[in-house]
């Protein structure tokens, strides 16, 4: 196989060859060892404590750092380090508004429910969110319904997160020879079995490695392992961002300079093409992604600038054929970028060792919104390839502001953490810590990846790789290649910290909520221990198998499950904690109402658009409709049915006069 000396240039070399390197592999191995060490220590710590409370809730003993960082790391899923940078890169500064709700997320998600849910859970020793609801209303059907909803949503989400973790790992380890060899071996061993994945051998290997690491440390260490690995992962994330920020600013000559260049920048044209050779080669020819091509101007073009296109995927011209299969290509449209690319392209022409390769363009399209408009990356609604309304019209901006804060508060995985801190002093300090943490993560990310448009232009069609590509480029340019490996751990840490929490959530739902609460309340400690280990492991393996053959519309499924959980749980839990008159009928109706209206909008969207996309009446996201309906039905049903039992109200909302003096202003 011949690999021509491609004309991928300068910093783009990192993209063309994948970001993989020995440092990434070493980072991953060291990181995994550290995670195992934490799990081992967590298991040792657990020996003398009550098993169920300790395994699923850490004995409600979390201090400030553990509570703050596990909360922050679980909320900041893989999306924060793959999807979010990709969106910033693709749409510009408008992402600051898209994520702006995170200014208020810590105080909303922790402050709204934390004190009460922690107190209510302690009153009866509730371990899970279904436990809390079941005990609060003394209603087994409500507890069981909450459990089923959690398992339903989380199972889909877990599969999606496993795939996301594997894709990140594949990006990090791409082109590491040892990884390729191991992938080939695994591919041969699993060929024709259930374990063979249509996603490819490297994906398969990365999925095995990712799943093995998460399943082992979560199963063995339980909640404490999840929390303390979250702490480490949270630190890796924030340190990674804080190192990237100055490097990015130095690279572009300061933020103001970067914005002056963005002021001239126009969205690229996207399309597909075949790479062609004049003479069919005698051996396969590989043309890496990020290869630049100078092509003829269109006949009706008045443009004086050369026309430069960039491939976004590796193209292979098979022996005896003259052309590759179709690959996505991108055409630069910003004059300054075209000049840079042209200069570099001319310098590299001399290194070419094969007859000239050329592009046979099949189709090129302008962006639906923002095409040929300089500076669209500096203002709203931001350029958008498919939708003429732009990336962030006002209704969508409002929906996201509501969604991040409210949806975060309604996630059962967050609620469980709110049941695990040791006292309110910890809560107060943790809210401050998470507030500062998010400020240090999200605002710098916006600046970094707006700068990335300058130093890594042309990655729109592979924007999910912008984070590792930027990390490698920035560290290599200053001669700190070793640091690239550390930075690459940040997105991996983010997705791992989410997956472990979801895994434990499903396990606790099955072991505690289904078996112990509904089937055998008198099960022995020893049996429940064995069952917890087994179920956690089995759920992890099942999710891994699901991710071998992942469903379509993965990202949409993640969004659907996250918003669906909030639509089902936020209103019932909030009213259960704050409204004494609320009853089981109201909670069940609110939960069912939120679930079905949210589902109906997605099914309606499927019917209308023929794909997994929600119908949004008045431009408002399904989560907001779900919350509204859940709230309205909860209130109406509660008022139309009998008040709750007096003993329950007394237990959860009242104290004896002599016991009422237990609080102090801070």
């Amino acid at each position: 196989m011949i690999e021509p000396s491609t004309i991928a240039i300068g910093t783009l070399v990192a993209q063309s060859t994948g970001v993989g390197s020995a440092s990434a592999l070493i980072t991953f191995l060291v990181y995994t060892l550290a995670v195992f060490a934490i799990a081992w220590l967590s298991n040792r710590l657990r020996q003398s404590k009550s098993f169920v409370s300790e395994y699923f809730l850490g004995s409600r003993s979390l201090g400030v750092w553990a509570f703050a960082l596990t909360f922050a790391a679980t909320s900041a899923s893989g999306g924060s380090f793959t999807g979010f940078p990709s969106k910033i890169y693709s749409h510009g500064w408008v992402l600051a508004v898209w994520i702006a709700s995170y200014m208020i997320v810590p105080i909303c998600t922790m402050g709204l429910l934390a004190k009460r849910i922690n107190q209510v859970a302690r009153k009866t020793g509730a371990i899970t969110v279904p436990d809390v609801l079941r005990d609060r209303f003394n209603s087994a059907p409500l507890g069981l319904m909450a459990t089923l909803l959690i398992v339903f949503f989380m199972a889909f989400n877990l599969v999606a997160q496993f795939k996301a973790g594997s894709l990140i790992l594949r990006t990090l380890l791409a082109d590491v020879p040892l990884v390729d060899e191991a992938a080939n071996l695994i591919g041969q061993l699993t060929h024709g079995t259930l374990l063979a994945s249509p996603e490819g051998q490297v994906y398969q290997l990365c999925l095995f490695a990712f799943a093995a690491a998460v399943i082992i440390y979560t199963t063995y260490g339980g909640f404490h392992a999840v929390v303390w690995t979250d702490v480490m992962q949270g630190l890796v994330m924030v340190v990674g961002v804080l190192i990237l920020l100055p490097l990015a600013l130095i690279q572009v000559g300061g933020l103001e300079n970067a914005n002056e260049q963005l002021r001239e920048m126009t969205p690229p044209r996207l399309g597909t093409a075949r790479v062609v050779l004049d003479e069919p080669p005698t051996d396969d020819v590989v043309i890496h992604s990020a290869t630049l091509f100078l092509v003829d101007r269109e006949s009706n073009s008045q443009d004086a600038l050369p026309r430069i296109l960039r491939t976004s995927k590796t193209a292979v011209i098979r022996a005896g054929t003259g052309a590759s299969a179709e690959v996505p290509v991108l055409e630069f449209t910003t004059p300054a970028v075209i000049e840079r690319m042209h200069l570099a392209l001319e310098e590299q022409q001399e290194n070419r060792v094969l007859p000239p390769i050329d592009l046979d363009i099949i189709e090129m399209k302008d962006y639906a919104s923002g095409a040929r408009q300089p500076g669209v990356y500096l203002v709203g609604p931001g350029p958008e390839a498919e939708m003429t309304s732009g990336f962030l019209p006002l209704s969508v901006a409002i929906s996201f502001f509501v969604m991040w804060a409210i949806s975060g508060a309604g996630q059962p995985s967050n609620m469980v953490r709110l049941m695990a801190f040791n006292n309110t002093k910890t809560l107060r300090r943790a809210i401050i810590t998470v507030s500062i943490y998010y400020t240090l993560i999200y605002l710098p990310l916006v600046a970094i990846f707006c700068c990335a448009r300058i130093f890594l232009p042309g990655m729109e069609q592979e924007a999910d790789r912008i984070m590792p590509a930027a990390a490698v480029t920035l560290t290599e340019d200053v001669g700190w290649a070793w640091l690239g490996g550390l930075l690459l751990a940040a997105p991996f840490a983010a997705v791992m910290s989410t997956v472990d929490s979801f895994l434990l959530m499903i396990s606790s739902a099955l072991v505690r909520d289904v078996y112990q609460r509904n089937i055998n309340p008198e099960v022995s400690e020893r049996s429940i221990k064995r069952m917890s280990y087994t179920v956690t492991c089995v759920v992890g393996v099942a999710a891994m198998l699901g991710a071998m053959h992942p469903p379509q519309f993965l990202q949409d499924i993640i969004v659907y499950t996250g918003s669906g959980l909030a639509a089902c749980f936020l209103v019932p839990v909030a009213l259960a904690l704050y409204w004494p008159r609320y009853n089981a009928a109201g909670a069940i109706a609110g939960m069912v109402g939120g679930f079905f209206i949210h589902l109906a909008l997605y099914l309606g969207g499927w019917q209308m658009f023929g794909t997994f996309r929600a119908y949004t009446p008045l431009g408002v996201d399904p989560i907001i409709w779900g919350l509204f309906v859940s709230f309205a039905i909860s209130i109406l049903t509660t008022l139309a049915t009998a008040p709750p039992d007096e003993s329950l109200v007394r237990r959860y909302f009242y104290v004896d006069d002599d016991a009422a003096s237990t609080s102090t202003p801070s």
Binding site: I104, R517, V655
Partner: protein
Amino acid sequence: MKQAEHIPRRKLDPLFVHARREAIVILVVWVICLAWTTAVYWTWGLGRSPEEVEMYWGIPDWVFVGVVAPWVVVDIFSIWYCLVFMCDDELGHANEGLDLDEEVAQMHHADQDRVDD
């Protein structure tokens, strides 16, 4: 069975009272933030000519005023809220296993009733 409106005069749980007051303040602040950020975006950032955009500390003016500045203000508010406004409350003893014990007791009671019948 007695109903909720017949509860004898007792004192509301102070933690419940504090948490409710604190939650109301949070909701008010959230609404203010939503209104401020989306209003600035709507009037100053959406559909504006890029030529008009000025830079404050290297950040587009509408992003600085609509997102960065309120973000810093909310951080300062959060620090004040947590250190000054929020009360320290006693969360109470964790009655580990109480719910299960109650269920087992109810179950045995029901079994006993059946045997007696």
